[in-house]
């Protein structure tokens, strides 16, 4: 009795092992790791082969669609060149907030959907942080892009740190924006140089200044400028020292903003909900200042005829916040090779110069001029703008990296409690 039993047991063990192996095999072949494994191989290929794979692919680029200049640049400059040179079709998919797309990809990941709808995402800051934390991005890919390797300074902190979060190559820098102040020189002959001078002017001319209320991005940035002016001297700030602006130290900024209130538009009882409303008040002449995160905003608005010709852009002496925006590839992109080739074109000197032109978009370049040849540098210098704007050199001198996205959020919440509600 014992032997057959043992024999059976042996057979069962064998079967069990076989079953286990089969199950393991199934799990391994189903796991996303296996799929990713193949695609990591894509990054091991020489660039020419990636281009060959990309040929004929359709790339879906999901991006905020609120700027005509940006949209036209992609539709009329990038897309035709991708088609002509690499036989890649670029489909621009406009969204009002890329956050929605991040959440969609997150849902796709939870449902185990390995082919998603987006191939390229235009993101930065808290959306990048969220995508990284949830593992929604494909892989570090910047090292394979020829234009990135040739023209981008790999040690530039303003490119490698995205609102305090290291990019680790999961996203490629595409452009730079910088916060600027705009005033109407007809009423403000000498633009204020510091936050104190601005406050003085506001006190002397009540009702002519306001800022958008957070979570409007531009208004939130103005508040950070106040915090910067009140909590640290020039040059003391770095986005990497996350806890530098402990809540206690912000109280001075809140006092400053509360003291200004009686002299703000509507005595500070309310604030414009968006920077668009502030722009409209500025166009109407109801306020004399506006602000923007695009240094060429005033230039563009004057060209459209909605801002007075006397509009001038100015900065604060201790600098203004700047950030970089990026292109990235989701883990479940269908056309990864196509996305890589497209992103490389976005980083090409010609693509970067085109988008820098004020009438195209006016977005700052991410390439390092010292890595360009003299001919390219000459082209770069020729791209100028009108008297309403500041030169790229002046902007570059006054550039400060952004706070971390968690810090920004806590500032926005605190502003509502300490200033907005009072």
């Amino acid at each position: 009795m014992g032997l057959p039993y043992q024999g059976n047991a042996g057979g069962d063990m064998m079967n069990c092992k076989l079953l286990l192996i089969i199950i393991l095999f199934l799990i391994l072949s189903m796991a996303p790791g296996a799929v990713t494994g193949n695609e990591i191989d894509l990054l091991a290929l020489p660039w020419e082969e990636i281009e060959a794979i990309a040929s004929g692919q359709t790339v879906h680029m999901y991006m905020w669609g609120g700027n005509n200049g940006t949209n036209n640049f992609i539709d009329q400059w990038i897309a035709p060149r991708l088609k002509e040179r690499y036989h890649i079709s670029l489909e621009r998919v406009p969204v009002t907030d890329i956050r929605e797309m991040i959440i969609k990809i997150l849902t796709e990941k939870q449902m185990g959907k390995s082919t998603g709808s987006a191939d390229i995402l235009w993101i930065n800051g808290e959306n990048f942080r969220l995508a990284m934390e949830k593992g929604l991005l494909w892989a570090p890919f910047t090292f394979i892009l020829p234009n990135y390797m040739r023209y981008v300074d790999p040690s530039a902190d303003d490119l490698n740190m995205d609102f305090g979060k290291a990019t680790e190559g999961y996203e490629a820098p595409w452009g730079k924006a910088q916060f600027v102040m705009i005033c109407n020189s007809e009423f403000v002959p000498i633009p204020p140089d510091t936050m104190e001078e601005l406050a003085e002017f506001i006190m002397e001319n009540p009702g002519r200044f306001t800022y958008p209320s957070p979570p409007d991005f531009t208004g939130s940035c103005f508040i950070r400028q106040v915090i910067l002016a009140k909590t640290s001297g020039p040059g003391n700030h770095s986005s990497k020292e996350g806890s530098e602006d402990a809540p206690g130290r912000r109280s001075e900024a809140w006092n400053f903003l509360n003291d200004l209130k009686p002299c703000l538009w509507r005595q500070g009882r309310t604030y414009p909900e968006t920077v668009g409303i502030l722009d409209q008040l500025y166009s109407n002449g109801e306020v004399w200042f506006t602000m923007n995160y695009n240094p060429l905003h005033a230039f563009n608005k004057i060209s459209q005829g909605s801002f007075p010709e006397s509009s001038r852009t100015f900065l604060f002496r201790n600098g203004t916040f700047s950030n970089t925006h990026y292109l990235t590839i989701p883990f479940n992109a269908k056309s990864k090779a196509g996305a890589l080739v497209a992103i490389d074109l976005f980083l090409s000197p010609e693509g970067q110069f085109e988008k820098l032109k004020p009438h195209v978009w006016g977005d700052g370049i991410v390439l390092d001029p010292s890595r360009m040849d003299p001919e390219q540098r000459r082209i770069l210098e020729d791209i100028g703008s009108g008297p309403s704007s500041l030169s790229p050199e002046i902007l570059a001198m006054k550039r400060i990296p952004e706070f971390s996205s968690q810090e920004i959020e806590s500032i926005e919440k605190e502003w509502l409690e300490e200033v907005g509600k009072k």
């Binding site: 997150l106 808290e126 979570p215 309310t270 109407n284 509600k421």
Partner: protein, 277 residues
């Protein structure tokens, strides 16, 4: 459609109870609702929303009745076709999306807006600052204005067929008995309208209570109406605000369900009434 609609509400309900598929952790909790109910901010938003919705509904219905009376006069004095034509004109504002209506109100009524400039240039006001503050003030007049402008034509549209149902014979009979235009309207037309007017007003109330665009553009920083308050929670940096935003939305829905129940109780059983148009 139904699945999407109810699925969305169900998903929102789950999220508001802490069962968020995105956050990863799942603890069934009423904590979000508890925080809301004890929150001063929530109730300020709630009563602001309620006040704006009630005033908008009342003004919109009043204006609609006035318009209907005018259409009725046109109808009995000249002819049917002419009143149909005027009725079409009343509907122009229905062509615009709410967000456009809000922006137009902003452009016209802000202190430096079109109306202030016209008045200034004609010498009626001494400066832009003497134009009254209508947009972005805590009472919400401009929000109410936008809602009344948009929703009163809707009520007219729903009730206008009743005016066409008034037969000439009735009017002649009333005249023989010595009734003027207004008594005819009050005694014959208006009683026919009360039930559909109640329904239309409830639709307007439900819409204005939950709508977003108009108060987003014309409201003040604090307090915000519930929809904008919820949006602000939802769009804050990380995902932690989502359950709270959903809890606010569910509270809005709950308030409307209560209002709906109140409405059907006070107006009696709706479906058995015969005077529906």
């Amino acid at each position: 459609m139904g699945i999407l609609f109810f699925g969305g509400i169900f998903h929102g309900l789950l999220q508001s109870l802490g069962l968020s598929p995105l956050a990863g952790d799942a603890d069934l909790t009423l904590e979000n609702y508890r925080i809301l109910i004890v929150s001063h901010d929530f109730w300020r938003s709630f009563f602001l929303t309620l006040r704006i919705a009630l005033i908008s509904t009342f003004l919109s219905a009043s204006l609609a009745i006035f318009a209907l009376y005018s259409l009725f006069l046109i109808r009995i004095r000249s002819n049917r076709d002419k009143s149909v034509y005027f009725q079409r004109c009343f509907q122009i504002s229905m062509l615009f999306p709410y967000i456009v209506a809000a922006y137009m109100i902003f452009l016209m009524f802000v202190q430096s807006g079109w109306i202030a400039r016209i008045l200034f240039n004609m010498g009626f006001i001494s400066g832009m600052n003497s134009f009254p503050i209508i947009t972005h003030e805590p009472f919400g007049w401009s929000i109410i204005l936008a809602y009344v402008w948009k929703t009163s034509p809707f009520i007219v549209l729903l009730l206008y067929p009743l005016i066409l149902r008034v037969e000439d014979g009735w009017i002649e009979a009333a005249r023989v008995l010595g009734a003027g235009n207004f008594p005819i309207f009050r005694e014959i037309v208006f009683p026919m309208m009360t039930r559909p007017l109640e329904t239309a007003s409830f639709i307007v109330f439900a819409y204005t209570f939950g709508a977003f665009e108009v108060p987003f553009i014309l409201g003040v920083t604090y307090p915000k109406v519930l929809s904008v308050y919820s949006y602000q929670m939802y769009s804050s940096g990380d995902l932690s605000g989502h359950p709270m935003a959903m809890a606010i939305n569910i509270m809005v829905l709950f308030a409307l369900l209560i209002a709906g129940a109140f409405y059907s109780i006070t107006t009696g059983s709706y479906f058995h009434r015969e005077d529906r148009s």
